[in-house]
């Protein structure tokens, strides 16, 4: 497949996804539910230095980060990291079920005969939870190893030197690219698990097989939204310390923007890959 063909396929799939969302807005419901869970979590975490939440959070934050981060405005510096850990929990519970629900809704929307049914899709996703969580955990663990482990090794063996900073940056950016490639290879496992009810290993194998055939298109479909997220994460790294110095509460706005961004990037990734999966299946027939 040439790059031009891959771009054309990606454009068509995105266009199809947007039209589908306009025709069946219920497809966006799972992503909204995840975003609401994230938003509620953020709302609670915003109050972590105050009672009653400080009863739970004070001790671990004091031990791992320091007393300073329990007080205004330094608490906003630790808020993104705290939110990140809770986001992982939400993703592993609600989020992954919502992914499955979204895949089924998109499948039903594609069939044209049946109106997408949220309740039924939710039930189907719950029944496939173990497979879905296995797929998500595989992606998560691989991302974690690629992004975090080199940094730990570099700091341990090289220490705090200028070369360490340069190497950390190189590993950081190349790590992100590698993570996007891996997601492009394995992302079709979600539709395989829901639509074709494949088990964990079969889903991964199926995804790998399909992705090889349309690798560049898959890469574009995954990379474009995820690079937006990467850009946001980098910008957030600068914006939050700036806001903490001047208007600390705006840090929450920055994190909230991230929740909205992820709502749309997840929609584009899941909707696009599911549509491409369905197209590929029909082509095979």
């Amino acid at each position: 497949m040439s790059i031009k063909e891959a771009f054309n396929i990606s454009k068509s799939v995105w266009s199809m996804s947007v039209k589908m969302a306009r025709k069946y807005p219920v497809i966006l419901l799972p992503f909204f539910i995840t975003a609401i869970c994230n938003a509620l979590t953020l709302a609670v975490l915003y109050y972590f230095p105050r009672k009653p939440w400080s009863l739970f959070f004070a001790s671990p934050i004091r031990n791992f980060k320091g007393e300073k981060f329990l007080h205004y405005p330094s608490n906003f510096l630790v808020l993104p990291e705290l939110f990140y850990y809770f986001q992982i929990f939400i993703m592993a519970t609600v989020g992954i079920i919502m992914f499955g629900m979204a895949v089924n809704l998109i499948y039903q929307a594609n069939s044209g005969n049946v109106l997408p049914r949220p309740a039924g899709s939710f039930n189907k996703s719950v029944r496939r939870y173990l497979t879905l969580i296995g797929i998500w955990a595989t992606l998560f663990v691989l991302s974690f190893i690629i992004l975090k482990v080199p940094a730990i090794i570099l700091v341990k063996f090289l220490g705090a030197k200028p070369i360490t900073l340069i190497l950390l940056r190189i590993f950081f950016y190349s790590g992100f690219i590698l993570v996007i490639i891996i997601e492009a290879l394995l992302v079709y496992a979600y539709p395989a698990a829901i639509i074709d009810k494949k088990k964990y290993f079969a889903s991964l194998k199926n995804s790998f097989g399909l992705s090889k055939r349309v690798f560049i298109a898959s890469l574009i479909l995954v990379a474009a939204p995820r690079l937006l997220e990467v850009g946001y994460i980098i910008a957030r790294g600068y914006m939050i310390p700036f806001f903490v110095k001047h208007v600390p509460e705006l840090s929450v706005g920055v994190i909230a923007f991230g929740i909205v961004l992820v709502l749309f990037t997840d929609f584009f990734v899941i909707c696009a890959v599911t549509n491409l999966y369905i197209l590929a299946k029909e082509t095979e027939k």
Binding site: Y47, P49, R50, W53, P73
Partner: protein, 289 residues
């Protein structure tokens, strides 16, 4: 029917969780709110300090109100005394000594348990009396710091401050007596509380008093005591460094200064400024030669 009940139960659980969460979010406040207000007030204060001459009286008043809000709403908060002190400082900066004194006295009245803030308030009131050329009243306040709040840092500063005052006024005899009293007080602390932070503070102030009197032999003796009493600590390194500086700059004994610097490098091989110190030793050696 069962399905409807299940769905309703799920919705009920979700709504309850939401209500509990939102309800709990409404709780709290207290110290965190105080910190927030304090940070905002401090930000305005820092902005004012950049250009106090060109700050309008209304801006001063706004900042005073911001700190007053903290003291009024959170009187039991740990930093409320400091907020009250800052109110006094704001009036003092506007040369409104009457209001400044009133606000400083509030620290003594409302926060008697905060020793540091009370000592700070007494010192500030003393400075106002000095400004009004009422040295006797100022001295009374300064002595009150030493008698009523002996464990505060201000109580260590005051004896030396009094001696410095007499010195700047050209009252040599009074200055010498004040230095003698200061050193005597510091020696008492060192004797009564050996190997404590108070003893170390007293030793440092003793050195400062002797430096002001240019009694270099005694300065060196005391610095050596500090270096020997706290081996391996940054305090010891600083003492040795100061000793070297005195030998070189005050007593013109470059070789002795170089010897002390070599001792410093020997006892503190991981010291950050190693290269600079080695360079200094070379300079001193070549200068001596």
């Amino acid at each position: 029917m069962k399905k409807i009940i299940n769905n309703l139960s799920l919705v009920a659980v979700a709504v309850s969780l939401l209500c509990v969460t939102v309800g709990m979010i409404g709780c709290g406040g207290g110290d965190y709110e105080a910190e927030k207000l304090y940070w905002k007030a401090n930000k305005m204060y820092v902005q004012l300090l950049k250009d106090p001459q060109n700050t309008k009286p209304q801006d001063y008043e706004n900042i005073v109100v911001a700190y007053q809000k903290i003291v009024f709403k959170f009187p039991r908060w740990a930093f409320a005394p400091r907020a009250q002190l800052t109110i006094g400082q704001l009036y003092a900066m506007q040369n409104d000594t009457v209001k400044a004194k009133t606000e400083y006295e509030k620290v003594l009245k409302h926060f008697p348990n905060d020793q540091n803030s009370c000592a700070g308030a007494l010192f500030a009131i003393g400075k106002i009396y000095e400004f009004e050329n009422k040295w006797d009243k100022a001295l009374e306040n300064y002595n009150k710091i030493v008698s009523d709040y002996p464990n505060t840092y201000a109580a260590f500063q005051v004896p030396l401050y009094i001696a410095q005052y007499y010195k700047t006024k050209g009252l040599e005899q009074k200055a010498q007596n004040a230095y003698k009293d200061a050193i005597s007080r510091y020696s008492k602390v060192i004797e009564e509380h050996p190997n404590t932070f108070a003893a170390l503070t007293a030793q440092n102030f003793t050195v400062a008093a002797l430096i002001e009197q240019q009694k270099w032999d005694e300065v060196l003796e005391n610095l050596r005591k500090i270096a020997d009493s706290y081996p391996g600590t940054p305090v010891a390194a600083e003492s040795l460094n100061t000793m070297a500086g005195i030998y070189v700059n005050q007593l013109n004994e470059s070789e002795k200064g170089a010897e002390i610097l070599r001792e410093l490098l020997e006892k503190f091989p991981q010291i950050g400024a190693r290269e600079l110190i080695e360079e200094k030793i070379e300079t001193l050696k070549s200068g001596h030669n």
